[in-house]
């Protein structure tokens, strides 16, 4: 098992190198000038001074080597546009907020979605099931930015219960978390319902009932535990996705998370920030996949040989 894990971790290194290389090459292709942010042309001397200062005129392989070294020593370099801040600062300031938002949204999805799916399965083919599924289908289909806009309009602006934007007190954090969590919540509800219906048909459930166990205990002990395995497998990558995919919610609620920095850095051609954040986000996805693979390996020994 240890060998399997070490091998999997080792394989993430070339993946990361390829990501850095591709991003690096694409950034060089799209053009633009990080040192010019307005209509105003930059005088030649100023442009030259800046290029010199940030080494953007070195041959590409030197820049690439320099960058890779930076990544592996956790130094992502200075921002070319937001002078006086480096990419590490930007990550340190903004990334925790994105994580926080992602975790709250995820918890909301879990706490509401799982029981909703359970009830729908237990009351299969009744109005309870239909309305729960209708509810979750709607929220699965409606994009989060629409949910966000509706929440802001009705709950923040009309009712005045919560602030419209920002990320400081707990009141600020509720609406964005709910808006971002609705989609995954619906997903969880449907997933739990499906697997639970399947589990309820199993022989051991009938046996448990037959031997006289109380219904609540059967569901709580046997059905629920077995139905949650697929949910756990789905939850890992989903959490990663929520954390990295909250850009729009961050924009609408003006949350100073990593999304805003990412979008700004691309439109400003702040190459080092784009690179740094891409590496960071791909790192998260790589780690999420790594964890899933390792979990599979633990849960199902057959995959260790087949996939390793």
């Amino acid at each position: 098992m240890a060998k399997f894990i070490v091998r999997r971790i080792f394989w993430t290194i070339p993946v990361l190198l390829v990501v850095i290389f591709l991003t690096f090459m694409m950034m060089r292709q799209i053009g633009g000038n990080p040192f010019r942010q307005s209509e105003r042309a930059v005088p030649e001397a100023v442009q030259r001074n800046l290029e010199e200062k940030f080494h953007v005129n070195d041959p590409w392989y030197l820049q690439y080597a320099h960058y890779v070294k930076g990544v592996f020593t956790f130094d992502l370099g200075p921002s070319l546009v937001v002078r006086g801040r480096d990419v590490n600062d930007i990550v340190r300031t903004h990334f925790p907020k994105s994580i926080e938002l992602g975790v709250y949204a995820f918890l909301f999805a879990l706490v509401i979605g799982v029981p909703l799916g359970m009830i729908a399965a237990l009351r299969h083919n009744t109005w309870v099931d239909y309305s729960a599924m209708f509810f979750s289908n709607v929220f699965h289909a409606v994009p989060s930015f629409l949910v966000a806009t509706l929440l802001i309009y009705f709950v923040a602006l009309k009712a005045g219960w919560f602030p419209t934007s920002g990320w400081t007190t707990w009141e600020h954090k509720i609406l964005p978390s709910v808006a971002l969590g609705f989609g995954p919540m619906a997903l969880f509800a449907r997933l739990v319902r499906g697997t639970m219906l399947e589990t309820l048909q199993q022989d051991y459930v009938r046996t448990a009932r037959a031997k006289g166990l109380r219904y609540r205990r059967v569901v709580g002990l046997h059905v629920l535990r077995n139905s949650l395995i697929p949910v756990v497998t789905a939850a890992g990558p989903l959490l990663g996705f929520i954390i990295t995919g909250s850009f729009v919610i961050e924009l609408i609620f003006n949350i100073p998370g990593i999304g805003q920095s990412y979008i700004d850095s691309v439109s400003n051609r702040d190459f080092s920030v784009v690179m740094g954040l891409t590496v960071l986000l791909s790192g998260i996805v790589i780690v999420a996949n790594l964890v899933v693979d390792i979990l599979y390996g633990i849960l199902d020994p057959r995959t260790r040989d087949a996939r390793g």
């Binding site: 633009g32 001397a45 100023v46 030259r48 001074n49 005045g160 400081t168």
Partner: protein
Amino acid sequence: MRSKTFWLLVAMLVASLALVAAGCGGDDEGDDAAGTEATTGEEGGSEAAEQVITVNWGTEPPSLDPGLASDVTSANILLNIMDPLVKLDEDLNPVPNAAESVETSKDGRTVTFTLRDDLKWTNGDNVTAQDFEYAWKRTVSPELGADYAYQFYGIVGAQDYNGCDPKKDKCAALADKMGVNAVDDKTLEVKLTTPQPWFAQQVAHHSFLAVNKKAVDQFGDKWTEAANIVTNGPFTLERWEHSSAIDIVKDPDWRGAADVKLTRVNGRMIEDGTTAVQAFEAGEVDVLQEGLPPDEIARLKETPEYDQYPGLGTEYFAFNVKNIPDVKQRRAMSLAIDRRSIIDNITQADEIPANGFTPEGMPGFDAINPKSSWAPENADMEQAKQLMGEVANPVTDITIYINDDPGHREKAVAIQASWQELGIDSTIKQQEFQQYLEFLGPPPNNDVDVFRLGWIGDFVDAINFLELWTCESGNNNTNYCNKEYDAAIEEARMTADNDARYELYGKAEKIAWGENGDLPLIPLYWVTYANLEKESVKDSWNTNLLDQIDLTKVVVTE
């Protein structure tokens, strides 16, 4: 069992839907609350007990280093936490501020600033002339790589020092040669390359603020963080949480503190216009400094909180004169545009139709403005068609380039329709801003026939606008080059007398946009800035033509 599940389900639906459902139910209540809030601010009322406001600046200030800042938000914060040598009044005249007096020598090439006695840094040090010398040389130094270093090019030796290559040249020697010199603690002497009567106004720009050397030496490029920064203005930087909040508070020890009413200005950075308007309407923000979404201006204009200011800026559509070489066609295309209709129906912020390039409000405007008959307020389609008929080889298939910021496409479509009537088929191509700038050169890509851009003035002299269209200008993306025009601008540069200089600017304007003008570009309108301001501050919240806000003048009324 059955009923328990039912109640569990009900409880859950309530929990998850509570916000939405109750949000609709609480509708009326919310309106009432907003109503009472809105009536608390009475115009011309007495001073409120609490002088605290929240302003949305719209973006994170990219830098609070006077040498590096190059945008409006940074400038507005800097000009309120620092103490400029001179300030500009509402008519943009220079008013001595940290400098007690400003004297210009007879030949106009030496300007001497004498500092006040009571200038202090927040670390207790006196503000000296050496601080200014240090700050200016630092900004020009090649090591800092400042965008705005060129603001100093009018000072003797500044351009040489800025262009110095540390590998080849002796940069320190060039720094010593630069014409800014602290004669003593109170006297700053500046030597200019030519007489520049606007220099006194130019130093009101944030690039010319003093910087505390100790803070820079101690903290390096982190000296502008709230914990490290040393300032000398009416407000101090209390908190700067990047992309989230920037709060400044009144400095009770500042020399003019007795006249400053505001005790605290909480700054927010809501970038999305719609989100910002919602925050304002929910009462979370007292002032939205610009950034209103173009498609909401019409609605917001009807609210008592709407306010707008003329700005020193020109919006234009320019030609690539190589591709559209016949001046008659260019004139016809300009005549066909209905500026009034574009302003009333598209931009909607009461911009002023432009009949010249230099905007209204610029000193000497009356002498400078060419009153171009080629740029009428309402389209003159008849004359346009007639002129178009006289064009020997009309270019009837053109491409209009615009950048993808909100509002530009609508303008381009309106113009496209006007040109259609002249028999010109145009295609609109939209590009993301950075690609766009690269595409425009100079020289512009061959595919560009017409493009849109705007110009916002840095300082208060028409040279800042008119030098754009000289042959060698780095901002001239039109391929236009007229030696006569260049000669007028060159002569103006050497002319210290205001009236004589304005005449020369007027001459240049006429060469480009007058009766026999070359029409390298079509001036569309002079810009305005639209704000939302709570009625409690609306009276005293005023931005000048350069979009600067002086927070020491703002008062919250009851």
